[in-house]
């Protein structure tokens, strides 16, 4: 009887381990959270957040059980012009003194293709939290060439949201920017 219970317990542990979501930590040196915003119809202004961290739980057998948590240092915004970066850090836009971190926490994941899915989550920007959806593609997973014990996986994601209506960034409209912000994200993550 004891043997039977022990066998069942071991089998249960092995099977849950085999199907559990893998945990990954985002590699901050290989994470690019970029954005584009229309500039008065002339062009799309580009920007990047230089400090990003977060965790991913990726269940390859059932992606709907996956999750994503992303922390972006709002003070690390870079748009290729220092004065504009300072403007964007002010309370007119990101308000980094009061809200130094932009966060995204997934609330649902939907499979849309062989290697793609839609991740919906709560984006908190300048103190306001609203749902935003990202179209995510899983690119690859492989060990590092110089360290077979370190497994790295990589994702690309795009998304768009109205920053004026959803997040109250009224000054964007005043200065002919937006109102939509298009996200262009690439992250690599290390398996834990």
């Amino acid at each position: 009887m004891n043997k039977l219970i022990f066998t069942a317990a071991v089998f249960s542990l092995l099977s849950s381990a085999a199907f559990a979501a893998d945990k990954y930590e985002i590699d901050p040196q290989h994470a690019w959270v970029g954005f584009k915003v229309n500039h008065a119809g002339w062009s799309n202004a580009h920007g990047l957040f230089q400090k990003v961290s977060g965790e991913i739980e990726f269940d390859k057998t059932d992606v709907t059980k996956s999750s994503l948590s992303l922390d972006i240092d709002a003070t690390s915004i870079a748009t290729n012009f220092a004065q504009r970066d300072s403007d964007l850090k002010s309370p007119d836009f990101l308000n980094v003194d009061e809200f130094p971190t932009i966060t995204f926490k997934s609330t649902s994941v939907e499979k849309t293709g062989e290697r793609s899915g839609k991740v919906t989550g709560d984006l908190t920007l300048a103190g306001v939290t609203k749902p935003v959806a990202l179209d995510v593609t899983w690119n690859a997973e492989a060990p590092l060439p110089w360290d077979k014990n370190t497994i790295k996986t990589g994702f690309s994601a795009v998304g768009s949201f109205n920053a004026v209506d959803l997040f109250g960034l009224k000054k964007l409209a005043d200065y002919g920017l937006g109102p939509d912000i298009k996200l262009d994200i690439d992250v690599e993550a290390i398996k834990k």
Binding site: Q83, D87, S90, P91, D97, G127, V128, K170, K171, G176
Partner: protein, 293 residues
């Protein structure tokens, strides 16, 4: 876009300032707080025109500002009652508390991260308190200096607008500029009115000086704490504008105390000298900080 900015930052607030002057003074006389309340409400309307209605509850300090202005309008609306009943020491303590409240509401949660900026805001507040109480015997001052007390706050807010603009906070530059426009138009109307008024009357109700100095301290605190590259020295220089009218009053120089237009202009321009110095300082700091192109 430029026309829209001029309309919302300059023309609209000047009209609001004119309305505040007429509503606050045409009937009530110099002893009530109506003028002070009208001025702060005019600034609040100018703020809402520029920034839109804030959500409730406000999520950021910027969204707290219109509510702070509304609360200030109520407080200074009843200021003359307090002034009559609690004496100079009581008024000083009460004014100190009312000065601290906005700074507490907008800055307490970031104070540990921005100690230098907080120190500048507190220093501006102390100068404001000292300057206001130095001239608290408002009725004893010559009319040009009474009007110059409002002009001093207007100049200080003009300077604060430029400090915010140089420091990469354009929204607050507009708000400070709009507040200066509200006060500026009341100064012009007060000068005109005092030229035709009887010799015994006051040019500006005394509670209004407390209200506009409080307004400056609140906006100076917000500008110091939240402008990404605010010049602290410039903000301190701007607060000195408020100290000039009592000093001119104590000097008893005739050039600032005659009833004519020349004394009004001399006094209302003299109080702007620290603001001019502050703007030069802030502009220089801005130019020096720019990376070589």
């Amino acid at each position: 876009m430029l026309a829209q900015i001029v309309l919302s930052t300059l023309v609209g607030p000047m009209v609001l300032g004119g309305l505040a002057y007429f509503l606050g003074t045409f009937r009530a006389g110099a002893e009530t707080g109506l003028f002070a309340a009208c001025l702060l409400l005019a600034v609040m309307i100018a703020y809402l025109t520029l920034e839109g209605w804030p959500g409730w509850p406000p999520v950021s300090s910027k969204q707290k500002l219109p509510f702070i202005l509304a609360a200030g309008a109520v407080a200074f609306g009843f200021w003359s009652i307090a002034f009559r009943k609690i004496g100079t020491i009581g008024v000083t303590l009460l004014f100190a508390v009312i000065l601290i409240v906005p700074l507490w509401l907008i800055g307490a949660h970031i104070a540990t991260r921005k100690p230098v900026e907080l120190a500048i805001a507190v220093a501006a507040l102390v100068v404001t308190l000292a300057s206001t109480m130095l001239a608290h015997d408002h009725a004893a001052l010559p009319r040009p200096i009474q009007v110059a007390q409002i002009a001093a706050a207007a100049w200080a807010l003009v300077g604060l607008a430029l400090v915010a603009a140089f420091g990469a906070f354009v929204g607050m530059a507009q708000v400070n500029g709009a507040a200066a426009a509200v006060l500026g138009s009341t100064v012009l109307l007060a000068i005109v009115a005092s030229l035709f008024a009887s010799k015994s009357g006051q040019a500006i109700p005394p509670g209004a000086v407390f209200a506009v100095n409080w307004l400056f301290a609140a906006f100076a605190g917000f500008t110091a704490l939240y402008t990404p590259h605010a010049s602290g020295i410039a903000i301190l220089l701007l607060s000195l504008c408020l100290a000039v009218p009592p000093v001119l009053g104590l000097s008893r120089l005739k050039v600032f105390s005659r009833p004519g237009i020349a004394s009004h202009l001399a006094a209302s321009i003299a109080v702007g000298i620290p603001a001019f110095a502050a703007v030069v300082w802030a502009a220089t700091a801005f130019i020096v900080q720019q990376p070589a192109q």
